[in-house]
């Protein structure tokens, strides 16, 4: 399917690559369909790009890359929303906020991670009861980035 992007121009995305957020993201309830794009195959982060709104996209990363101690409780309701069965390997991603004037001040929202079910391709932004910050400074932590060692979030499409 054809996807328009204000950042990356026009793209063709296979329909099976769609990710659905039935409730949308907080503050963006009307947009429910996204795709995961590779920023660059060597980059640890990816773009979660809305297919319904050309300007709506988020930079996401696997939290384990910069915070190996990050652990969240997945509520039964959240599991139901992504139709997670006991055998589904659910994955987590967190959204990065990159200030335009200083990309090194990038922060990660650890309080509202994205839960993804790679099998059903249903996703949900969680609101955690754990006291994690919405602005966790990514570069204050040791990033464990090794080429080819990046855990897959959900299969991404090269941009």
């Amino acid at each position: 399917m054809h996807v328009a992007s204000t950042r990356f121009g026009s793209m063709n995305v296979p329909a099976e690559a769609l990710l659905t957020f039935p409730s949308g993201l907080l503050g963006f309830p009307d947009w429910t369909r996204y795709v995961m794009l590779d920023h660059d195959t060597d980059a640890p982060f990816k773009w979660l790009h809305c297919v319904e709104e050309a300007s709506l996209a988020f930079v996401v990363i696997a939290p384990v890359l910069f915070n190996p101690n990050y652990q969240v409780t997945i509520s039964p309701e959240a599991r139901v929303e992504v139709e997670g069965s006991e055998t589904d390997g659910l994955s987590l991603a967190v959204i990065l906020t990159i200030p335009s004037d200083d990309p090194s001040a990038v922060t990660a929202n650890l309080r509202g991670p994205l839960l993804m079910n790679p099998r059903t391709r249903l996703c949900k932004q969680l609101v955690l009861t754990e006291d994690y910050p919405t602005r966790y400074p990514v570069f204050s932590a040791q990033i464990h980035v090794e080429r080819g060692q990046i855990p897959a979030l959900v299969e991404a499409i090269p941009a």
Partner: protein, 78 residues
């Protein structure tokens, strides 16, 4: 906004299956008990607002070229 006055132990019903009860009032704080089906999410609203505000900011993130990021990684991680 609908405004109701309730005493300790009294409640409010919202629809057929949501009930909110005032459990106690002390030092300007109100303790609420909330009964709702498990499919209804209940959160302190300031947490939702914070995540919502952060989403709005994050949606304005620019495309950062990979070499810029790699340089950052090298300098920040050193």
């Amino acid at each position: 906004m609908l405004v109701l006055t309730r005493r300790r132990g009294e409640g409010v019903a919202i629809g057929p299956d949501i009930r909110i009860v005032v459990l106690g009032i002390k030092n300007g704080q109100v303790r609420l008990g909330i009964e709702a089906p498990r499919t209804i999410e209940v959160h302190r609203d300031e947490v939702c607002v914070r995540i919502q505000d952060e989403n709005q900011l994050a949606a304005r993130s620019p495309v950062v070229p990979l070499d810029v990021f790699q340089r950052l990684l090298r300098t920040k991680m050193a």
